[in-house]
Symmetry: C2
Subunit: 423 residues, 2 copies
């Protein structure tokens, strides 16, 4: 069934980037790519189509197959559009780059695809830029990635951003301690992913847990405070305080100390209930928030088991920036530049096309952005067009307009008749 008149439409959840938006996206990606580059991260590009088995590697319970765009090749094999870039890059790292010196530092700028029921702000094509650090375990590697996340957000021009830091083992340990059943745990984790504290507390109440267990879960989900306060509240959780909750806390503590040494402690705080929607995370996880934007502009964490799905067995961590959300945040802060300017339009009488194009070439050689007018416009009509584009008119004919000193200079250099300023 094809809906009539859909030819002029685009599918739900995807969008066109018109010149202004495309330029902003390109500039943002360039700036991020530059930061990634100076930290030693090298761009890789993976194909737009993968086998279904590839993109579902390591997806875990929270990665949902029905969210994938699937199609078939002519041999009947199922292909899919990637729902994230981490998995394809894990495939590349574990296979084609297996012989390279470790760690691998890789970056990307690409769209990912997740089929989503249409609700406010949900999109199916998600432009991301990000990095993966593969082959290094430990707090220094986690610290590098979080420090780079801060550096990338700062380089984007965003002000007032915050990073929340959590740990998969902390959440898992608390759930184990609370002793909830599997179905309840899934439901509560979905509430954590959605950051829906009301639904979380309702779920906890309905689970009918002993007061102390219920209180532990709620304390995790709603925690706001310092590392010392976290230790005070959760440091005794587990068998004589020696379980994974405590180990996870200790890892977070080491990282916070490192981030303080690196001068980014002010942007980072503990977010102990932090749970990411993709299922492959195994350690420290984090999300970045911009003032006034509800959904995270950045997310990532450690995924030490994913490479093994491709025969790699390497620890890894990384993050992705959600570029559309970041652009919204930057726009709200007035941090986005306008469209790239047009400097000049060269008048082009039908019998002097070669001359007009030669004049344009000369101006471009000096770094200017120059159009040749191809519609044969003259006088006021051409000036009106140029004004609409914020450009000057370069005329091959005499007497087009008033000529200031700068204009006469341009005219002399160009050996053309007149340059009309727009003001």
């Amino acid at each position: 069934m094809n809906v009539p008149n859909s030819r002029n439409q685009i599918p739900e959840g995807v969008r066109d980037q018109l010149p202004r938006e495309a330029a902003q996206m390109r500039r943002l990606a360039d700036r991020l790519g530059e930061v990634f580059g100076t930290w030693g991260y090298r761009e890789v590009v993976t194909p737009g189509l993968e086998y279904l088995e590839t993109v579902t590697a390591g997806a875990g319970s929270l990665g949902r197959r029905e969210d994938l765009y699937q199609l078939f090749d002519r041999k009947g094999r199922t292909l899919a559009l990637r729902p994230d870039m981490t998995t394809p890059i894990a495939r590349v790292a574990a296979t084609k780059m297996a012989g390279e010196p470790l760690p691998l530092r890789l970056s990307y700028f690409a769209p990912v695809y997740r089929y989503r029921a249409q609700k406010a702000g949900s999109v199916s094509e998600i432009w991301q830029a990000g990095i993966e650090l593969i082959g290094a375990a430990g707090a220094a590697a986690d610290g590098e990635v979080v420090a780079l996340a801060c550096g990338a957000l700062a380089a984007s021009g965003l002000e007032g951003f915050k990073l929340g830091l959590g740990h998969v083992d902390f959440v898992e340990g608390i759930f184990a301690e609370a002793g909830v059943d599997r179905a309840t745990e899934e439901a509560l984790k979905e509430a954590l992913v959605a950051r829906d504290l009301v639904a979380f507390e309702k779920g906890v109440r309905e689970a009918g847990l002993p007061g102390e267990k219920a209180e532990l879960l709620t304390a995790m989900a709603s925690f706001q405070g310092s590392y010392e306060q976290a230790v005070a509240r959760f440091g005794g959780v587990g068998e004589s305080g020696a379980g994974r909750v405590v180990r996870a806390l200790r890892e977070l503590g080491t990282m916070l100390q490192l981030l303080a040494e690196l001068g980014v402690a002010g942007q980072v705080s503990l977010d102990l209930g932090l749970t990411r929607s993709l299922g492959y995370y195994t350690g420290v996880v984090f999300e970045g928030y911009a003032p006034g934007v509800g959904s995270p502009v950045l997310g990532g964490g450690r995924y030490d088991n994913l490479l093994a799905d491709f025969g790699g067995r390497l620890p890894a961590t990384g993050f992705a920036l959600e570029l559309d959300r970041l652009l919204v945040a930057l726009e709200r802060q007035g941090r986005l530049p306008g469209a790239p300017g047009l400097d000049a339009v060269v008048e082009c009488p039908p019998d002097r096309v070669g001359e007009a194009m030669a004049a344009a070439r000369e101006l471009r050689g000096r770094g200017l952005t120059v159009e040749v007018d191809l519609l044969g416009r003259t006088g006021a009509e051409l000036v009106k067009y140029a004004r609409a584009r914020g450009a000057r008119v370069v005329s091959l004919t005499e007497g087009t307009g008033g000529e200031a000193g700068e204009v006469l200079e341009a005219r002399r250099r160009l050996r053309v008749a007149a340059v009309t300023p727009i003001h």
Copy 2:
């Protein structure tokens, strides 16, 4: 049916770009985007998924629906991966940009998808960069686009490229004059698209045409020569020499003269049998060739009817560069730079991570590409890693290696203990 062990593989006809290749592609795209920009072309980005009706607009008899990657959304509508960028940009130009001053100059850098049976060199994911000039008819517009094609190839660093220039009306007029039936015409055009002169001449012989008509077709397909020679051979074709063959020739003549004025005549020659695989072309068409590469690295032409399929009714022309082929050509000419370099690796003892990262930050601030060693390597092991990456070791500890003047200077500036040169 899913083949086992395909998780580590990628589908046929697509590829991974490892860091070296990705850097070369990025650099090429940047350079092309810069050229497009100074000519007033602004980048647009369209979604990776379109409705089937959109991508099949204007496809004509040579655009084949079975070459499309198709999938379904949850409402049962058929989506497709775009087989070219011209059609999505025509959609955008005719709809969301309908109110903007004309002409529209738009550019892109994106992959397109065409399902192809696997044979040598055929790919299904094709990275293209290109431009569209929408809202301008005539030889000046055609000339700008061909001149920009030459400018883009020159900017890529490619040497010795050639552009072939043809015209849809010329080919159509010759076929009409030869009076072949529809099936023969289709078969002969496919041979022209494939540039298979042997198949073309065989098809002509088998069509059993009168000698003069057969000779006319073969003369078109095999023509090599100047504009004057073309006029001498084909100037009398059609009703008293006034048909579309002659009009097409005249348009080509005007363009060649303009291109001579612009100094690119030496790179352009007539290719009167030129026929493009996509069916929407209506006027001047062209292809660009690199020495030693059999398939064109660039192709384009005028498509005055495509916008009407989106309610636009605007003349248009443009071209696409085939970036993978262009990279092959550049590589053969030794015109591709190596991978971007790593300048330094900072030694990072486990107890001095913060210091090491601060030193790296300082070096990056001076524009260097710097890694912190996250594997705790020391001495010879670290030097070996750095050498493999072409980088120097910056050490926080004393006595790592010989220190030349430059090294001591770096050490003093950095307040670190030693910088080990790699040579």
